[in-house]
Subunit: 317 residues, 2 copies
């Protein structure tokens, strides 16, 4: 590394000397001793190859080159100060931007409250939100198009090969897929069974998963569908999936129309008017864990860290 470059420190000293009119005054202004100023000035003059100050009697005035340097120093130091201020604002959460990508149903309640808290606590921050599901959201994370991805996983899920791949999720298990990401668990919610009114289990309160073996199924998003198949196969049967849509209100509508049964996250059901449907507990209980994903480095970015905290707060109802 070449050491003959002009450094900001040099310009600060030069400016102080010209302002103060003396080395001693500059030293007082800079909060250091006078020899330090002498040395800095000597180093600067040597690095540029020409004297920068002329001392006549008691006062020091800049030379031709000194004035040129001062002219530029003003702009350079101003730019540097502006940069420090802006970065400090970002570090201090008086500014900054967080780009959030969430799976559709997660953005209904969790995201709005978390965003609202962040914005009210740190008015300068900006939050953007797009909806996408894994693996697309993780892809965006890796591509630098988002800072935090909301996703969910099923605690017991295993990438037991064909049962997953044949259902079209087309990827690896979240546990291995996210191994290089920072995972922040937010909350877990139970999946509830949804059956039409008048269904034989409509008033049962709870139902074993295997008892629904012969029912037509309405499935959710690809990964939800994959997990459903997995759970059912663990219970000894393969579900007959008649419809698949990631639109939760549509699922509820389909069930309400008596076209089948479904297993959905409780918040998804609660956010939809349950026309003609009834919910039943499913045993054994199926749980879904909602997590926030981010890049490890991004965890240390103030705005991202703050957003993660707000998400965790909003999750701990």
């Amino acid at each position: 590394m070449v050491g003959s470059m002009i450094e900001a420190r040099h310009l600060r000293v030069l400016r102080a000397v010209v302002r103060a009119g003396s080395y001693s005054g500059a030293a007082r202004e800079l909060g250091c001793t006078q020899p330090a100023v002498s040395q800095q000035m000597k180093a600067l003059e040597q690095s540029v190859g020409t004297p920068l100050l002329v001392r006549i009697g008691r006062e020091a005035r800049p030379t031709d080159a000194g004035e040129a340097l001062m002219r530029h120093a003003a702009g350079v130091l101003a730019g540097l100060a502006a940069a420090e201020e802006e970065v400090a604002a970002i570090a201090g959460l008086r500014a900054g931007r967080v780009r959030l990508v969430s799976f559709p149903s997660g953005s209904s309640t969790l995201v709005p409250t978390a965003v609202a808290r962040l914005r009210s606590g740190h008015p300068g921050t900006r939050v953007s939100l797009v909806e996408a599901e894994p693996p697309r959201s993780v892809e965006m994370l890796r591509a630098g198009e988002a800072d935090i991805a909301l996703a969910f996983r099923y605690p017991g899920a295993r990438a037991s090969a064909n049962s997953v791949t044949e259902t079209g999720t087309g990827g690896t298990d979240p546990e291995t897929e996210w191994s290089d990401l920072a995972i922040r668990p937010l909350f877990t919610d139970s999946l509830v069974g949804l059956v039409p009114e008048g269904h034989r289990f409509a008033d049962a309160g709870e139902v074993g998963i295997a008892e629904l073996a012969g029912e037509p199924w309405i499935a959710g998003c690809p990964r939800c569908r994959g997990h459903l198949v997995e759970v059912c196969e663990a219970a000894g049967f393969t579900p007959r999936i008649d419809f698949a849509t990631d639109d939760y209100p549509a699922v509820v509508g389909l069930v309400g129309a008596g076209l089948g049964v479904a297993v959905l996250p409780a918040p998804a059901v609660e956010s939809v008017r349950p026309r003609g449907t009834r919910t039943v507990r499913v045993v054994p209980e199926v749980r879904r864990e909602v997590v926030a994903l981010t890049l490890p480095d991004l965890e240390r970015v103030p705005a991202v860290a703050a957003m993660l905290d707000r998400l965790a707060e909003a999750s701990a109802v």
Copy 2:
């Protein structure tokens, strides 16, 4: 001195890393090793208090704060480069300015040739010229209004008190007056006597100063007049000065009109058409030394040093 400021080196490293997309690439670009880049980046991130880069897989991309810093870095580094370039131009005599102040007759031949040589050798330099005599020119030098002052002195002159002060030079002897200045002798010229055609000494070739005791005198500038009085008193008489002007052509005109005799620098006489006058050598010979004065610090300013050299060259006919 506080060490938590952003330094130009940091920005150079950051820019290189962002441009190269990796620490190693930045190190190659900067001509140093990769750990050096790591350390600089770590120091910068610590000083600003927030990460500036996120590394995803193989490539590094700037964070929010990193982009903000990059935005400012562009301007800051450009300003710094411009400053270095401009100062280098001044140091390398591709630019720079010299402010010259000369006594009136000195600028007639010496200054034009010296300026012409400087400008032809270093086209970027600028020379400004004003005319003033000591002590005004020295005053301008000390006030920072000029870089080089041309002046002259009489080798034997002594500030022998009253003889000088009573003639109105109102100051001390040059030797002490200029004690804190850098003095560059340029050349010495002889003073010649100037008498009207038809004067009794017109064809004498040379004349003793005392032989002109009774003549009416035409004197030059105040300091010239002071020295004239000094020389005459040394010869045993006090000259009767009928006219005094620092305009050499006027002096020649007055002598040509038969109104008196004068003693003038040879170059001053030669530059004027000698209408109706004759020159005679004066014995003992009276010599005048022309010098360039500058502040000691300014001697090291390239443009000033170059101008002094050109003045010396032009003097060494």
